[in-house]
Assembly symmetry: C2
C-alpha cells in the first residue's frame, strides 16, 4: 500500500465516551447460583439501554458455550474463566461500554485479578447478598439438588467455597428488595460513577 | 430476591441493530505482516466512527497483550488465538457492532473455523493482497530481518506458511491503491452489506 504510515487514525476510548456521553466501566456482580445475578444483569442492561446508554452483559450464557467452552469448573479453570472475562470487559470498556458481568466469581483472588486487569477506577463490585439457604430453597434450575446428590461436582456453596466480597462498592439486600428495586438501586448508584 | 422470574428483560441483537441503524458484522482482514492490515483497520474504523456507526478493531495490539497473552505462535496457539478472537467478535456482533479483525490469520482452516463461529452471513473476508517481496522490502517493524536471521521463529511467509484466501469477499490491490482509496473501497463494499 502506498504511504503506509502517513496517518495515525486510531479512534480512542475518549472518543467513544464523548459520543456515548458516559464513560466505560465494569459492573462486577458477585453472588451464589440462584441469587439473581442474571436477572439483575439483564434488568439493569434493559434500563441502561432504554436510557440510551451503551451496555453489554457478559454471563455464563454467552461465554461458557463460546470463548470459555474449553474450560470446566476446577479452580484453575475458574481462574482462566474470570481472567478472560475481565480481558473482554476491558475491550468493551475501551469502546465506551458499561459492561455488566454476571458470574458467581466465588474467589476473592479472582476478583482482585479482574480488578487489576480492568483497573481500579473502572471496576464496580456489586455483591448480591443472598444466603445459601435462600438460594438452595429457591433452586430455580435444580442445580443445588444435583450438587447435593454429587451429580454436579465443584458446585459453589456446596462442594466448592464461596468467599463473600470483603468491601463491595455496592451491596444488594435481596431478602428485602424486589428485582425492580434492586435494579433502580444499582442504576442510581452507578449514575454517580459515569 | 422477590419475584425472581417475573420478567424476561433481555435486550437482543435486533434491539441494538435497530438503535444503531445498521447490522452487526465482522470484517476479517487477511494479509502478511506489513501488508497494511492495521492501518486499513484503523482507517476504516475512523471512517465508520465519523459516519456514526458502531465499530471496534480487534488486532494484535489489544489481544496479544490481553486475552491471548498466554498464547505463542505455534500452530496450536494460532488456532486458539483465532478461535478466541472469533468468539469475541461474536459478542460484539451480538451488540450490533461492525468488528474489524486485523490478524495475519495465515491458515485457511482457521478462517473457516472463524466463519463457522461467527456465521456465514456475518463474515466478510477481505484479502489485503500484498506480495511477500513488497512486505519484506518495506519491513516497517524490522520483523522480516529478524525472521530471516532466525531471531523470530514461526514467522508467516518466512518460516511459517501463508495460505492465500481462496475466495475472499473483497480483495484489495495494495500495489495500486493508496490507503485512502483502500479504505473508501472497503467502506463502499461494506455499506451494501449493512
Amino acid at each position: 500500500m502506498k504511504n503506509l504510515k502517513t496517518h495515525s487514525y486510531k479512534i480512542k476510548r475518549i472518543d467513544f465516551e464523548k459520543r456515548n456521553k458516559h464513560r466505560g466501566i465494569a459492573i462486577w456482580l458477585v453472588g451464589l447460583s440462584g441469587s439473581g445475578k442474571s436477572t439483575l444483569a439483564n434488568g439493569l442492561h434493559a434500563k441502561l439501554f432504554e436510557n440510551g446508554l451503551q451496555s453489554v452483559v457478559l454471563d455464563g450464557d454467552n461465554t461458557r458455550l463460546g470463548i470459555n467452552k474449553d474450560l470446566g469448573f476446577s479452580d484453575e479453570d475458574r481462574n482462566e474463566n474470570i481472567r478472560r472475562v475481565a480481558e473482554i470487559s476491558k475491550l468493551f470498556i475501551e469502546t465506551g461500554h458499561i459492561v455488566i458481568n454476571a458470574f458467581i466469581s466465588p474467589f476473592e483472588i479472582n476478583r482482585i485479578e479482574a480488578k487489576k486487569i480492568i483497573s481500579d477506577k473502572d471496576f464496580v463490585e456489586v455483591y448480591i447478598n443472598s444466603s445459601i439457604t435462600t438460594c438452595e430453597n429457591r433452586d430455580v434450575k435444580g442445580l443445588y439438588k444435583k450438587a447435593r446428590s454429587g451429580e454436579i461436582k465443584d458446585f459453589t456453596g456446596v462442594s466448592s467455597p464461596f468467599e463473600k466480597p470483603i468491601n463491595p462498592d455496592i451491596s444488594i439486600d435481596t431478602e428485602n428488595l424486589s428485582i425492580e428495586e434492586s435494579i433502580d438501586y444499582v442504576f442510581h448508584e452507578l449514575k454517580s460513577k459515569l
